[in-house]
């Protein structure tokens, strides 16, 4: 899209969208939101860059290889967090019984494994939205 207003607006707004997405991901255990919605917001900001500029600018932000690695890495991180609980001593995906540090309820770094899992899920969802977008746009040739 070649429109000047769209380009300037998206250039101004994208950092705020990304900060908001990261905020929703990190506060998943304190307020409504969590990994899925925060990841979708973050992924939507990357798709916005690719739509308002052209596709090369979008690919420069996050290339195909990076998106693929992040996608698999997010899912593997989730599985490995569960495995870490087995190695420490509890059942699979255990939180308190495995000894993850639980802080005060209501603080940011509380909840043990929940924060780690939410961050991995957020990364995976964002990169999946970007990958889906690339596949649909580039498949039209």
């Amino acid at each position: 899209m070649e429109d000047q207003i769209v380009r300037i607006t998206s250039r101004l707004v994208t950092p705020f969208i990304q900060v908001y997405g990261i905020y929703v991901i990190l506060h998943g255990h304190l307020s409504p939101g969590g990994g899925f919605s925060g990841g979708a917001i973050f992924g939507a900001s990357l798709v916005l860059v690719a739509l308002s500029f052209n596709l090369e600018a979008g690919v420069k932000q996050i290339s195909h290889q990076t998106a693929s690695i992040l996608e698999s890495g997010g899912a593997l991180g989730y599985l490995l967090t569960g495995m870490a609980a087995i190695i420490i001593g509890g059942n699979y995906l255990a939180n308190r019984s495995a000894g993850f540090p639980l802080g005060q309820a209501g603080e940011l770094f509380s909840g043990g494994a929940i924060l780690i899992i939410t961050v991995f899920v957020g990364i995976k969802v964002a990169s999946t939205i970007v990958t889906l977008f690339y596949n649909i746009i580039e498949g039209e040739e």
Binding site: S31, F36, L132, N135, I136
Partner: protein, 122 residues
């Protein structure tokens, strides 16, 4: 009068079931493939509505702990189940829409009855 008063009390459940039936009917009878996908979303959304309506407690408030001794909270479990359900429905919708894009490229139509005719003539 019994029927009317029980309908008035449980109108969330009635609306959910009516939406479910509408979604299923459209999904099975209408020919346009995009309408089928939209109807699938309506059907899933109606079941999520039913789940959330089950969890409501009269006079309750949002299940985030605050100060106070005898505060009635709404059941948070259906909400957590529905988050997962919404993600599942979105994934199936994304996959179905990408299939429709590919089918459109091959057959040139979005109408399922026409596709069946083309297939039966091959």
């Amino acid at each position: 009068m019994e029927i009317l008063s029980s309908i008035a009390r449980n109108y969330y459940y009635m609306v959910a079931i009516i939406l479910f039936v509408i979604g299923t009917f459209i999904m099975l009878t209408h020919a346009n493939m995009i309408k089928k996908v939209i109807a699938m979303n309506i059907m899933d959304a109606s079941v999520f509505l039913l789940f959330v309506a089950i969890g409501y407690a009269y006079g309750g408030e949002a299940p985030i702990i605050r100060e106070g001794s005898d505060v009635v909270y709404v059941n948070p479990l259906p909400g957590a189940l529905i988050l997962t359900g919404i993600v599942v429905a979105v994934s199936v919708t994304a996959y179905a829409l990408s299939l429709i894009v590919k089918i459109y490229r091959y057959y040139g139509t979005c109408d399922y009855d026409e596709i069946c005719e083309i297939r039966s003539q091959e």
